[in-house]
Symmetry: C2
Subunit: 458 residues, 2 copies
């Protein structure tokens, strides 16, 4: 039984988890490249240690991809491919962390560290589930392939070419991913839809140098004011995005979907209290989970210009820049939206500004069949582990690879996540519940048996 395996090996597992979370594998920071490499090697070594028969590290033009497999179930047995990522988000603002982000701390039944919930902690629990099965039976019920990359947080630029090159090696019946949240402690969740992403950068240049705001203020258009005025025009009074054609490909929510969303546990007061906001705010006419799961949005992710140091510098800056991303829903396409965005920005930008628009990265949105074998097996596995009926929903984040699995491997993706929305993914004091860590190990180990029987039955 996986439960007893966990009980016997818990201390060692947490020591290993601490090792993994101590590696600062920040994929977006060039200065962390060596750490990312080191993390790939740690993962590969661990795959070998638990019993995977083939484990390789594939270099890419960016960060390496770890691949491992065990095909002992035989050619006619189904094959599950697990996908995860060992890279993590940057840690700024560092001063808001209670403990250093790469010195894991166990407190109140949680582990605190960058990557604890997104996604190292969840990758690790899958390795532990496989280790448990190997330890108990010396084998796995199905063939298992592990694809663990190091560039998810920067848009997986090298995964698609890799998957095209190794399409045969990666062939599988379903893809399993744990990078989505569960809605509440004790409430297992499955996600069948993900939003896409279109992440742009807009740079306004006014005068050719920083100017003295006393000498020139009033006669020269200020790029920060101009950028603010332009950003303000990207949404209307109903929270709708004003880019012409933006909503053209958006599939309206079905009545059934809206009923599912309405069934999700939600308490507006608790939601606001937890974030310390006076109220939620978004597109008119939709509930909070509809807004985050099934409606497109636009957020400024970063903005900078002029003097941002201590004190008061009276400068009229030459440039102002903003990182602006849009979350997309079926059937919006990131390339189409990027083009519409750039065209709109160039249309509404003041003629006083030189405009530079850069497409930093994107991902199309994804939907998974709710009746696929993988989803059905996951429902059973979660119900066993949590002794509760899982909820099905659509999530706001992007997992670009889901689309690759669909188009390149023609395999449906099962999103069985174990993190909570309150675990600060992408922000200071990221953490992961040890209870969900253990239930995750149980659920994923059960998943393989369930998938086998459903596949055989089908």
């Amino acid at each position: 039984m996986t439960e007893s395996f966990i009980a016997k090996n818990k201390e060692r597992m947490l020591k290993e988890l601490t090792e993994l979370l101590s590696i600062p594998s920040i994929s977006t920071e060039p200065s962390n490249a060596a750490d990312v490499q080191r993390c790939a090697e740690w993962i590969a070594d661990h795959c070998r240690a638990i019993g995977m028969t083939e484990t390789r590290i594939y270099p890419t033009p960016g960060h390496p991809i770890v691949y491992a497999e065990w095909l002992g179930a035989g050619a006619d047995a189904p094959t599950v491919l697990f996908y995860g990522h060992y890279d993590v988000q940057p840690v700024d603002p560092l001063h808001l962390w209670t403990n250093p982000p790469f010195e894991p701390v166990f407190r109140d039944g949680k582990v605190f560290a960058r990557g604890a919930t997104d996604d190292k902690g969840q990758v690790f629990l899958h390795l532990k589930a496989l280790e448990a099965l190997f330890a108990e039976r010396g084998s796995l019920p199905v063939n298992v392939k592990l694809l663990i990359e190091g560039e998810e947080e920067i848009g997986s630029p090298n995964l698609e070419p890799f998957m095209n090159e190794y399409r045969e090696m990666l062939r599988c019946d379903t893809v399993l991913i744990s990078d989505t949240p569960i809605f509440a402690p004790g409430l297992p969740s499955l996600v069948y839809g993900l939003r896409g992403l279109c992440y742009m950068e807009v740079e306004f240049t006014g005068p050719n140098r920083d100017l003295h705001s006393g000498t020139f203020g009033g006669a020269v258009h200020n790029p920060i004011n101009a950028l603010a005025e332009t950003i303000a025009r990207l949404k209307d009074g109903f929270g709708r995005i004003t880019i012409p054609g933006f909503y053209g490909d958006v599939v309206p929510l079905t009545q059934e979907e809206r009923e599912d969303f309405a069934r999700l546990p939600y308490n507006d007061q608790a939601y606001c209290d937890e974030l310390d906001i006076s109220s939620t705010y978004g597109e008119f006419g939709y509930s909070t989970y509809e807004r985050t799961g099934a409606r497109p949005t636009l957020d400024v992710n970063g903005i900078w210009g002029g003097f941002i140091g201590e004190g008061a510098k009276t400068v009229l800056p030459s440039k102002a820049t903003a990182k602006i991303s849009m979350r997309l829903v079926p059937h919006q396409k990131t390339d189409t939206i990027a083009a519409l965005f750039e065209e709109h920005i160039r249309t509404i930008a003041p003629p006083t500004m030189k405009v530079k628009v850069t497409n930093l990265h994107g991902a199309d949105p994804a939907l998974t069949p709710r009746d696929s074998d993988g989803v059905k097996a996951a429902v059973k596995a979660l119900e066993y582990a949590y002794n509760a009926k899982p909820v099905l929903s659509r999530e706001g984040g992007s997992i670009p690879v889901c689309l690759l699995f669909d188009t390149i491997l023609n395999a449906p993706t099962v999103l069985m996540g174990f993190g909570l929305n309150t675990e600060n993914a992408h922000s200071p004091d990221e953490h992961f519940s040890l209870e969900n860590f253990e239930k995750g190990i149980i659920a994923t180990s059960v998943f393989y048996d369930e998938f086998l029987s459903i596949a055989r039955g089908a």
Copy 2:
């Protein structure tokens, strides 16, 4: 003759200037405090060296004030007080400097360094004029007092208490300042009006932590979007500031003043070409120099929030902040405007934001009588040095102390500057024309004789 003194001592003077400009006396950076102190000592030593009889460094709660005097002209002779500042602006963005800002370089008849034109270079030419007079005559035509502070770039917080305490010591018939521009090479200029300043900081806080824009985007108001929307509402389509009551105390331009502004040399194409902008932009119905010299404005001097590093971080930030300053004209009061600004921000800020407004510093605007003895003497001195008729105008920058001289010393201020608007005060590659440096030495040395004869004649 001062001309021959300059010819004989030029090399030494430039060596001394290089020394002075090499000291990074950035008053707004706490880490440069020791450099600011060192700069004060350099100035004081130099005052003693050229022949000032009394020179003292007065410590303040902030940076020290240098005072020097020579009262050899006797109690019944007029007294001129020269005011300047030895502190400089920060140097960022450092990578845009051709040479390090504190390693002065002489090129194309200019000296390049932070502080070259604002204001160390101009303070230094005054010291050289006094040195020339002492060297030629062993005395000065009038009593001279030098007040050189180290906190002008941060709003002179400690000057007012100092002037109140030493009111008697500072008593004078006129104040002379060189911290304003001349309009073109060979066109000497006198400024009789200065704009004031009200420099505020606005911080919006939304959620209590940075959020994942995928998970929360669409349901939680983004502080950067909210701040941009608020900034955009601070001006209307005619470039007018929308703060209620903002224009209440603004004195309209007289017909005579508008005619003076019209007489200033101005070429719109050249103005735009020099800044590489397609057109000027500002309040409807006013010329460029009216906009910069005699109309109030609002500029965002700095803005920051969210992820501003390399790459793409999908964060919905907790905070966004902007430094926003307003240039004021007679008879606006900085305290009144600060209160109106804060009230307006709190009124138009979205209810989803926690708002923090800080008054970083301010200065009331100033006007000097155009027929004062000092202005008349300066006109003659400039006409002699440049062999051209000076233009009188109002300038866009703030010199808060002008108001203190008026209220505390009851002395009119003469603004006889030698910098050019194109010399990058407050921005990278700041420089100062050596021709204006020399003409400045001549003009200021002549000024004292002219002031004496006009005062005697009056």
